[in-house]
């Protein structure tokens, strides 16, 4: 049989233990910790809805965007959340293609994170349009204005297609992956719960021919999601790179954005997984410190790629010989927004270096703090790119400053309420670890009849 350097799941679990452990979280009443967290996050979510309501009812003038900074908090936070989502697809699809079996424990939650992050992100461009009731104009549909079609040469239209395809395919991939687990819950449940899980498990039976098709489709979706996830953040970067603004008009943007997305997304996975391990102590056997260490290695690696990109941008700005390009970057580092730039450098490049030390990679408090810093740093990265490039471009007569208002802070903070509310509801309603995927990596029953793992 296949042997691992270390068991992926500790505690000599039998198949039944695995089902019981993972299903019990959705079958028992929630504890005080969960209730406190959902109360907090849903209050913030409610605040978010009210803030959006006021913005939509009153108008975009409530937010900080103005001439010359026409893209503000909405776009910055949109890119931030889309980037968060990408690590989920990386874990569920790319690591699946590379046969990285350690991904199994965290794939379901990472994919859930993707779905919720993209849902959270999707709201921001709609707010940003200023007239969200006309947001359907973004899609090409037969209309009575000609029909007047969307401009397919515009990166903003590419973005509409990229984000909506990404959301659709991510939800599909996530749902297909959970159908057998919902069937497991169905077969354990009675009454109304049985009816609900019965509906969502679609009558799954788990025959060999079903599994044959199922595994094939899972592989195909992983194969389709991989180029998709790379295309999505490349296209998000085109929103900037296709413009001729110094600081935006660079060819490095697609790989730089994708690396940054993976970086921030893994940080969010670490944040969420440390919280899940605290909320559900039994999950420590499934999401082990080894899993966390591997994710921290990814964070450090992608953090250095992002750091390289920061340096490379400066070099190219100097090498281009364009004084506007040079000024855009000098202004980032020592201009009025120096604090945003150096927050970004500190959080993204300096702080993750602590993961060179093994104890730091394996210390839950350390990684939690670092992951929060990375989340902050990656929000500032998008702030630096968007705001500092716009606020001083070519003619000094066009220069200006961007100040966030109460409503800017409101949508930024409120969006976390939405994201965490969705995630908390998810861990109570859906098995947070893929039951049917974790069982094959136990090594149980393959030439080993004593019921546990070799260890």
């Amino acid at each position: 049989m296949e042997t691992y350097r270390k068991p992926l799941i500790v505690g000599n679990k039998t198949l039944k233990d695995v089902t019981d452990d993972i299903a019990s979280l959705v079958e028992t009443p929630p504890g005080l910790g969960w209730l406190t967290m959902i109360l907090g996050s849903s209050s913030v979510f409610l605040f978010y809805i009210i803030v959006i309501g006021i913005i939509v009812g009153t108008g975009m003038g409530l937010m900080g965007v103005s001439h010359p900074v026409g893209w503000g908090t909405d776009i910055v936070t949109f890119v931030f959340w889309v980037g968060i989502g990408h690590a989920g697809t990386l874990i569920s699809a790319v690591l699946y293609l590379f046969r990285q079996k350690w991904r199994t424990s965290i794939a379901r939650s990472a994919e859930a994170m993707t779905v919720f992050a993209v849902a959270t992100a999707g709201i921001f461009p709609i707010i940003h349009t200023g007239r969200p009731w006309l947001a359907f104009w973004l899609f090409p549909y037969p209309n009575q204005r000609g029909p007047l079609w969307v401009n397919f040469r515009s990166p903003l239209v590419w973005d509409v297609f990229a984000i909506s395809t990404y959301a659709t395919v991510s939800v599909t991939f996530w749902y297909v992956g959970m159908v057998p687990d919902l069937a497991t819950l169905r077969d354990r449940a009675k009454g109304l719960r049985r009816l609900i899980y019965g509906v969502f498990s679609l009558g799954w039976r788990g025959r060999a021919r079903d599994w044959g098709h199922y595994e094939m489709v899972y592989l195909l979706l992983a194969g389709l999601s991989t180029p998709l996830v790379l295309s999505v953040h490349s296209i998000v970067s085109f929103d900037f790179a296709v413009a001729q603004l110094p600081g935006w008009h660079t060819t490095i943007f697609p790989p730089y954005f994708v690396a940054g997305a993976i970086f921030s997304g893994f940080a969010m996975v670490v944040t969420l997984m440390t919280l899940v391990r605290i909320a559900v102590p039994e999950f420590k056997k499934y999401i082990t410190i080894d899993h966390m260490e591997l994710m921290n290695k990814v964070i450090m690696t992608t953090g250095m790629i992002v750091g390289y990109a920061y340096g490379s941008e400066f070099f190219i700005a100097w090498y281009s010989g364009s004084k506007y390009e040079v000024y855009a970057f000098v202004n980032r580092a020592i201009g009025p927004y120096w604090w945003a730039y150096w927050t970004m450098i500190t959080c993204n490049v300096v702080i993750p270096q602590i993961f060179w030390f093994r104890w730091a990679r394996r210390s839950i408090p350390t990684m939690f703090v670092v992951s929060i810093f990375v989340n902050i740093g990656m929000w500032f990265e998008r702030y630096v790119i968007t705001v500092t490039s716009l606020h001083r471009d070519f003619l000094p007569a066009n220069w200006g400053m961007f100040d966030m208002t109460f409503y800017d802070f409101g949508v930024l903070i409120g969006s976390f309420g939405m994201f965490f509310t969705l995630f908390l509801l998810y861990i109570r309603a859906i098995p947070a670890i893929a039951i049917a995927e974790i069982k094959p990596v136990l090594g149980f029953g393959k030439g080993d009849h004593n019921g546990g793992h070799h260890g």
């Binding site: 079609w149 040469r153 395809t165 077969d187 039976r205 995927e437």
Partner: protein, 173 residues
């Protein structure tokens, strides 16, 4: 769909279900299926199943999405209402690639899942339940009564001899 029943045995380990599937196949049965809580490595070989045909669906759906994207961007931008945007050609193929790419992926992914539903008979209202633990930690193997060699007594004896934990007569699965 006509209801087809049969005899189902229940085993407790992955090794035994693989061995039984191999044995049933070699005994000359054709209409049988294994029911497992998770995809068991090697089960397709043991049951003599062919590789899934769904990749063909994925390919042709992806091709359809790609061609649709090509046609749609061309027809809307260059035929139905051509608009000069910054002097770019009406038929600006490089600028249309991202949209065409996304449509390729969208069509391929959704069609693959649709094909999965069709292949597995999903969604199915009120699926038969023989043993609720078949989706948790037990492994079943059913020989359908439509098999030409079907004889419930022989099969029950064979299952018991192979160490079945339980044997059920099933009216439908």
């Amino acid at each position: 769909m006509a209801k087809v029943g049969g005899v189902m045995g229940i085993w407790l380990t992955e090794d035994s279900i693989l061995a039984v599937a191999e044995k049933v196949k070699n005994a000359g049965y054709h209409k049988f299926d294994a029911i497992t809580p998770y995809p068991v490595h090697g089960m397709e070989d043991a049951c003599g199943l062919e590789r899934s045909w769904i990749p063909w669906v994925t390919f042709f759906a992806g091709l359809t999405g790609c061609l649709f994207g090509l046609w749609f961007t061309w027809w809307t931008s260059a035929v139905n209402w051509p608009i000069n945007v910054g002097g770019k050609p009406m038929w600006s193929l490089p600028a249309f690639v991202p949209v065409i790419f996304e449509l390729t992926i969208l069509f391929a992914a959704l069609a693959s899942v649709g094909a999965l539903f069709a292949a597995c008979g999903l969604p199915r209202v009120d699926p038969p339940v023989v043993d609720p633990d078949l989706t948790s930690h037990k492994f079943g193997l059913i020989i359908y009564e439509s098999d030409s060699k079907y004889n419930s007594n022989d099969i029950e004896a064979m299952f018991k001899q192979s160490g079945a934990d339980a044997v059920h007569k099933v009216s439908e699965y």
